[in-house]
């Protein structure tokens, strides 16, 4: 068959894929340059520095109690993570149990706490004495935070660990059982250690999320010595009617979260290599 050419319509000139890629790249650089230019043109530099980076307030924020607030955030996050990890493991095992009611209970729990905002759970725990007069959660406010945030994160952690357990090759259990290990021992000695290795990166991500969620504790009511980073920054921002302390508090979270996310990336890279 010969090609039919309609008069007046020239066949489209073909650009080489390389040319096209180059052109797209130019457009992208152009957009970037334009955006940066607009930002530089319109930003009110003096207002930015006086509203967000006032030097005297940076110093005050750093010296007046940031270390304590930092420790409080670490303590609240750490405790909640331990609660979440222990409870999450139990829930994951229940979720995979042979006993059906365990599976149901675990599923109901997970769906309930995954579906609720952490803020509301925290408020609920702070007012638990309304329902049970005389009941006090010990180590106020840390106990309340550990329970509230721990319960919420355990729901997420349970799902992560369940996926990890299911990712352990079936042959491992079979081999362990054929060596005469009872099933409980096989779970503890063979399955769980391997599962935890698999889920370490996602669990670290959960820890990062929990670190940020710890900023919600302001809803339960805090004394000055138990202020977390966000509350500390907010209170100070209000005292001086300036946003600088909040910016510093926010930056301090990065001190916790950036090393963690870096660690996750390292672990994932190593995991990918191992495959």
């Amino acid at each position: 068959m010969s090609a039919i050419t309609v008069e007046g319509v020239r066949p489209k000139k073909k650009t080489s894929p390389r040319k096209r890629a180059q052109r797209i790249r130019f457009v992208q650089y152009g957009v970037l340059a334009l955006v940066v230019l607009l930002a530089v043109l319109f930003v009110d530099g003096r207002q930015v520095s006086s509203a967000f980076f006032r030097l005297d307030l940076i110093e005050k924020t750093l010296t007046q109690g940031l270390p304590l607030a930092f420790l409080n955030t670490l303590a609240m996050t750490g405790g909640a993570f331990v609660v979440g990890l222990v409870l999450g493991t139990v829930l994951a095992l229940m979720r995979l149990s042979q006993v059906a009611p365990y599976r149901w209970l675990s599923m109901i729990y997970i769906e309930f706490f995954r579906g609720l905002p952490a803020l509301i759970v925290l408020m609920g725990f702070s007012l638990v004495s309304l329902a049970f007069p005389g009941l006090r959660i010990p180590l106020d406010p840390y106990g309340t935070v550990w329970l509230g945030l721990g319960l919420v994160s355990s729901a997420y952690i349970a799902e992560t660990i369940r996926a990890g357990i299911q990712a352990v090759p079936k042959g491992q259990v079979e081999a362990a059982r054929s060596l005469g290990m009872p099933s409980g021992m096989a779970t503890r000695r063979i399955v769980l250690p391997q599962a935890f290795r698999i889920v370490t990166p996602p669990l670290t991500n959960e820890l990062v999320a929990l670190t940020k969620d710890s900023s919600l504790v302001y809803v339960i009511g805090l004394t000055a010595t138990s202020f977390d980073l966000t509350k500390y920054g907010r209170a100070m921002s209000n005292t001086y009617s300036n946003m600088t302390p909040l910016v510093i508090a926010g930056a301090t979270y990065l001190l916790i979260t950036l090393p963690l996310t870096f660690l996750v990336r390292r672990m994932e890279a190593r995991g990918a290599r191992a495959k």
Partner: protein, 274 residues
């Protein structure tokens, strides 16, 4: 390539935010030039609407009624200002601190703040205020069974306050003298319910809301009141003198023609103090 694309997207998002801020600041200057002219007509953040920032829930100043509408003493007074401007009032619920720090106005989230804001020196540095429209005192909420009638009975106890309020300042200024610990809550209901739950021993807040809570919850009573000579004012951006004079004019005429007293009686059940 993919990474570059992500980078570009991130950078453009950042820059868009920045330019967004920049646009706001330029319209601020526009507003101030209008305010400087002889016929002041306040520039509103949203055309045809007086956008008012408040912090819910603070009964009876601003709260949601049974139908979900925001009502209250502040709302009625700001309605008068909106009427004067020939627009309708639009209410935005926002963090209290954003109103008192002026951030809400700088970000053009609203024209005015009406949130039972006590006028004080710090806040006057950050925002402009209307003339006072309400006199408040601080009140101490305690469990009815405790029999506490003054702060000296609270040695070694925990007193709840609402964050960023004058009640918090009052409680903190007196905490060393009376030996109690201050616990900061995010809103009034949290601190009041903590008293009810028995997790704290007392709460300090403005008399209006405290009396309202103790009326609804007979297990709590108002132990005492502290005269702190506080006045509430409506706030706006420091350079928004046009709106400030409109609100002041409305307040003055409402006080002289009896509208203010009608509104006062509607929300507090008594005549406005002379």
């Amino acid at each position: 390539m993919k990474r570059l694309l992500a980078l570009t997207a991130a950078a453009s998002a950042l820059a868009l935010t920045l330019t967004g801020c920049a646009n706001y600041s330029s319209s601020t200057t526009a507003a101030s030039s209008v305010a400087g002219s002889s016929a002041p007509a306040p520039t509103l953040v949203a055309a045809g609407k007086l956008t008012v920032c408040t912090n819910l829930s603070y009964k009876p100043f601003e709260y949601k009624d049974d139908s979900g509408k925001v009502v209250g003493f502040d709302v009625d007074l700001m309605d008068l200002a909106a009427k004067k401007l020939g627009v309708t009032q639009d209410i935005v619920d926002i963090e209290f601190q954003q109103i008192t720090s002026g951030a809400a106005f700088a970000a053009k989230k609203c024209d005015a703040g009406a949130a039972a804001i006590t006028i004080n020196a710090d806040r006057q540095k950050a925002t402009a205020f209307s003339d006072p429209y309400f006199s408040a005192t601080q009140a101490l909420l305690v469990p009815a069974s405790s029999g506490v009638t003054d702060l000296s009975a609270l040695k070694g106890k925990v007193v709840g306050v609402q964050t960023d309020t004058t009640g918090q300042t009052y409680a903190q200024n007196n905490s060393t003298q009376y030996g109690y610990t201050v616990k900061v809550f995010d809103d009034f209901p949290s601190s009041a319910n903590a008293v009810l739950a028995g997790t704290i021993d007392a709460a300090i807040n403005d008399n209006g809301v405290v009396y309202n809570f103790s009326k609804d919850n007979p297990k709590t009573v108002v132990g005492t009141e502290f005269k702190t000579n506080e006045s509430y004012g409506f706030s706006m951006a420091t350079d928004n003198t046009a709106l400030q004079s409109v609100v002041n004019g409305v307040l003055a005429s409402a006080k002289s023609d009896g509208t203010y007293n009608t509104i006062y009686k509607k929300w507090f059940g008594v005549d406005a103090p002379k």
